[in-house]
């Protein structure tokens, strides 16, 4: 079954969908993220070699672009992509699964006769890549008779650079036993809590190395390392035949192993286990309109679904109508629609430190940046690619093109999209103290939103009743359901910069065939007035 949208947690914790190899990297660039070599511009290929382990790729790139041009392409790009993965899954006292993966291949994208064509092969030789270039041109020519307007690309400087994740400890070099032991230690701690029957701790990492070269002069090498640790604890009530789970809220990040080392995974295990047990005994929520306080560990996903997706330009113009859907945020509403309360600004940013979508350049070869999508409550901006910028009269792409592997066609994918913190130094505790009768939600649970991004319904991991400024008790069976525009306009308080936290997902789905994208969403906690709370309990029905 296709998973149409972001997914983390019980359903897709095994991140081994893609695969990858040991890549011997040069250590001199370690930790020097973007720009170290940006000043070197000529001779282009030699200067950009930086991380390249296989200089013969220079020859492959040149021959592939030449083959595409000779076959009649007016534009061509070639991406050589190597993806490495590692995953470990544990339950209780055992390691269930240890896996690593590698995939390597070449994708060639061309424009010929005004139409796109694409072909890809896992055979990384100049001959195979030249053949892919010719196949891609043949596909473009097959499509060309059915085009009404030729594809045009916004201009871009001929970027030549090397970029890589700023990290201290390469997670692929940390011994497997250390990783397994950490996860088993989490399970041991959680299992000490009476009532806990099951624990699932997991870890996955993905390193994406790619070389992009184009007939517009791009020659860009990047390596991006993403980690996803986490765990879920399940408590069982055998007498009633009921069960509840609680996840640790740790977010996947673009980072080194030091991120996992610094995270309080083991330290929090008992608390998370106790939450699962308390949740199982908690009273079922009374449905109705209530004030709602959302922790960043819950709110990031609401931002993803109701701000991130609607501002994808291809979606807004109907290019994703057959699968992901369209959007309420159509171009005629730009600069007019009051999408959120006037103190709220949502920004897109492919430079956020640690952000899963952070990189130096997108898969069109465009340098990444930051811009506003919603400014002081008003919808103002879109996510675009080189092909799309002209559709709304913008002179340059925002740099959001991405393909999830050598065999995938680059298209518009979500950058990191975040809610800026409020000017006041307000904390989660301040929001709780200011609330007379409400519900507090932490962690992401069940999530669903319609195909134009109006009606959403979200759950969470842990729910508390707030009375007279205090957390009174846990609740269960809670979901909140709202209309996007009404919801964001019902916000009356947000936290300050110190309360801002970066959540994210490794597996946002879009496109046909479906591709996976990773991106982060930062936000402070926020309070919303009189939101519709549902009771999801059908156990007695």
């Amino acid at each position: 079954m296709a998973s149409p949208d972001t997914s983390r947690g019980n359903y897709h914790i095994d991140g081994a969908r893609l695969a990858g190899v040991k890549l011997s990297r040069r250590s001199f660039l370690r930790g020097s993220s973007a720009g170290a070599l940006a000043l070197i511009t000529a001779p282009r290929i030699a200067a950009a070699r930086g991380l390249l382990t296989e200089p013969r790729l220079d020859d492959l790139v040149k021959r592939t672009l030449a083959a595409a041009t000779k076959a009649g392409a007016s534009y061509a790009d070639v991406r050589v992509v190597r993806i490495r993965t590692e995953s470990i899954a544990t339950r209780e006292d055992r390691v269930q699964h240890v896996a690593s993966g590698e995939s390597y291949g070449v994708g060639v994208r061309v424009i010929a006769g005004g139409a796109w064509g694409f072909a890809a092969t896992p055979n990384v030789t100049a001959e195979a890549a030249e053949r892919a270039a010719k196949d891609a041109v043949a596909i473009a020519r097959a499509n060309a008779p059915f085009m009404k307007r030729p594809v045009t690309l916004a201009p871009v400087p001929a970027n030549v650079d090397v970029w890589q994740t700023a990290l201290v400890k390469d997670p692929f070099k940390i011994p497997l036993e250390d990783k397994a032991e950490l996860l088993l230690a989490v399970n041991r701690e959680a299992m000490k809590v009476p009532g806990v029957k099951f624990t699932n701790a997991y870890y996955s990492a993905l390193a994406e190395w790619k070389l992009l070269a184009s007939t517009d002069g791009a020659y860009i090498e990047q390596e991006i390392v993403r980690l996803s640790p986490g765990y879920a604890v399940t408590a069982i009530d055998d007498k009633r035949g009921e069960f509840e789970s609680c996840d640790h809220p740790i977010a996947p990040r673009q980072a080194g192993w030091e991120y996992v080392e610094a995270a309080p995974l083991v330290a929090d295990a008992r608390r998370i286990a106790e939450l699962a047990v308390e949740k199982l005994k908690a009273p079922s929520v009374q449905p109705g309109k209530r004030d709602l306080i959302l922790e960043p560990s819950n709110l990031w996903l609401t931002i993803h679904e109701s701000i991130g997706h609607p501002t994808e330009l291809d979606r807004a113009l109907g290019y994703e109508a057959n699968f992901a859907g369209t959007s309420f945020a159509t171009p005629d509403k730009r600069g007019k629609l009051r999408l959120a309360a006037p103190f709220m600004t949502f920004f897109a940013d492919k430079t956020t430190p640690g952000g899963l979508a952070t990189c130096g350049y997108d898969d069109d070869g465009v340098a990444t940046g930051r811009w506003n999508l919603v400014e002081n409550g008003v919808f103002v901006g879109y996510q675009t690619t080189r092909e799309q910028a002209g559709w709304i009269g913008e002179p340059a792409s925002r740099g959001t093109s991405y393909a999830d592997g050598y065999g995938s066609i680059p298209f518009q994918r979500m950058p990191n999209v975040s809610l800026a913190p409020g000017p006041k130094d307000r904390s989660l505790e301040d929001l709780i103290a200011a609330t007379d009768d409400g519900i507090l939600i932490s962690g992401d649970g069940s999530w669903s939103i319609d195909h134009q991004r109006f009606n959403f319904q979200f759950g969470g991991q842990a729910f508390w009743e707030i009375k007279h400024g205090k957390k009174v008790r846990m609740l269960r069976d809670v979901a909140y359901q709202a209309n996007t525009i009404e919801f964001w306009n019902a916000c009356d308080q947000i936290g300050g910069a110190k309360s801002w936290w970066l959540g994210g997902s490794m597996s946002d789905g879009k496109g046909e065939p479906e591709q996976v994208n990773a991106m982060s969403h930062g936000c402070p906690p926020a309070r919303f007035k009189q939101i519709n709370i549902l009771n999801t309990n059908r156990r007695t029905a």
Partner: protein
């Protein structure tokens, strides 16, 4: 896609390398695919590609220590690296009491005509013409048209150091399209899957989507509530999947499943409801063996409304003293004899639903699922379609959908959106379906 002999050669190369390590048991899986896809939207072709894929996955075990790794390269150095890496990882992996020895020789019953030669040979211009036919239907009806055409030839080969040798090849294809009215008030969809491109009629699919878009324009408001519903196959497949995929003996025995309280032998539904897995149904594109090489037989999990059993993994079967079943196979919900229009005729007041979107589990204990309607929702009054209505969010369980079902049509294999062509289902009529809130989306 690899032929049987190409795949076997590669499997044997890896087995020979892995088997050279003393005390190592090994399982090799080699999958390959040649896939073509074409997208269209806003009445134009938007992207198209042909992609080759290969995955060599190796699992090595030393007693209870086990690890896996995969590569998509098949040169000697890459395979050597793969074996070295997995052997090292397996030695370092903690002992797993659940690790089972690799399987020896097995016999399988595959679908007879899983590979359709014409679909293997399909070229990009055929996809472009299929897309063009849909676009032409959109242009003619003054509708926006978007959609997707995909086909693939795939193979999967398994081998173990204990003598297992399995190979299966198959084709899959799908086409779906969405038509939208220029004023943005109407939207219609159609999508089917098969293993033969000749089974998919681009013009007919586009016409269904276009007719639905036109008929669904300018919807009227209908209040949320519990309604009699006619669910078309795409809607049925996406919701029934949550029921089918929850069949698992271990989770039930552990007390964390719907099946903890509803055991084999329980009658959940009327005699009209039967749920099967069937790897011999070529159109579903399922393999006749699971990831470990265990045969998957065609079998019923619900027979005439009664749960007949739950799938057991090899480890859980051993622990509970049961037979392992193999996990997988194409799913099928048996159909009936009614037509969709006959189902509509019996409804004084109800709602006709084309498909669902963004389904997510809300409560695993009751299999409560939320999601939304999309691309054609109509009020039924006095046995006929009265007019289009707004979309809804639903909160409902597939158990209740099937328990309250009183009419089924012949089956189809919907594909696209939230259903991937691996589930054969009828349209059905059900009652008291909880359409919980209004969605403004069109």
């Amino acid at each position: 896609m690899q032929t049987s002999s190409e795949a076997k050669r590669l499997v044997d190369r890896v087995l020979t390398l892995a088997g050279a390590t003393k005390g190592a048991e090994a399982l090799v899986r080699v999958s390959s695919a040649r896939e073509g896809n074409t997208r269209f939207a806003v009445n134009e072709l938007t992207s198209a590609g042909d992609v080759e894929r290969l995955t060599v996955q190796l699992t090595v075990q030393f007693g209870q220590r086990s690890a896996s790794a995969a590569t998509n390269q098949q040169d000697d150095r890459s395979l050597d690296d793969l074996v070295t890496r997995v052997v090292r990882m397996a030695r370092l992996a903690p002992e797993n009491p659940e690790a089972m020895p690799v399987l020896g020789h097995q016999s399988y019953t595959p679908a007879k005509t899983a590979v359709d030669p014409a679909t293997v040979k399909l070229t990009p211009d055929v996809r472009a013409k299929a897309a063009a036919a849909a676009i032409a239907a959109g242009d003619a009806a003054k509708l926006g048209m978007a959609g997707f055409v995909r086909h693939a030839g795939e193979s999967l080969a398994l081998g173990t150091t204990a003598g297992l040798a399995a190979y299966h090849a198959w084709t899959t294809c799908e086409m779906s399209c969405t038509a939208r009215t220029p004023d943005g008030t109407g939207s219609g969809w159609a999508g089917l899957g098969s293993n033969r491109m000749a089974d998919l009629d681009p013009g007919a699919l586009a016409k269904t989507a276009a007719d639905k878009a036109t008929a669904s324009a300018q919807p009227r408001r209908l209040d949320p509530g519990r309604y009699t519903v006619i669910l078309e196959p795409a809607a049925v497949a996406s919701l029934a999947a949550f029921f089918a995929y929850s069949f698992d003996a271990r989770r039930a025995d552990e007390g964390r499943s719907y099946f903890t309280k509803h055991r084999p032998g329980d009658k959940l539904f009327s005699e009209a409801i039967s749920l099967r897995t069937d790897p011999t149904d070529a159109a579903l594109g399922a393999t006749p063996f699971d990831r470990e090489g265990l045969p998957i037989a065609a079998r019923r999990w619900v027979d005439k409304g009664v749960v007949t059993g739950l799938p057991y993994s090899r480890y859980w079967a051993k622990k509970q003293d049961k037979l392992p079943t193999g996990v997988g196979g194409g799913w099928a919900l048996d159909g009936g004899t009614a037509t969709r229009d006959e189902l509509i005729k019996g409804v004084p007041r109800g709602v006709l639903i084309t498909r669902f979107w963004y389904l997510r589990p809300v409560d695993l204990q009751t299999l409560l699922v939320t999601g939304l309607t999309r691309d054609g929702v109509f009020l039924i009054e006095n046995g006929a379609i009265a007019h289009p209505v707004n979309n809804f969010r639903f909160n409902e369980s597939p158990i209740q959908m099937l328990a309250r079902c009183d009419g089924l049509t012949a089956t189809a294999i919907p594909s696209g959106g939230e259903t991937d062509g691996g589930f054969r289902v009828p349209a059905l009529r059900s009652h008291e379906f909880n359409l919980a809130s209004i969605s403004e989306a069109i």
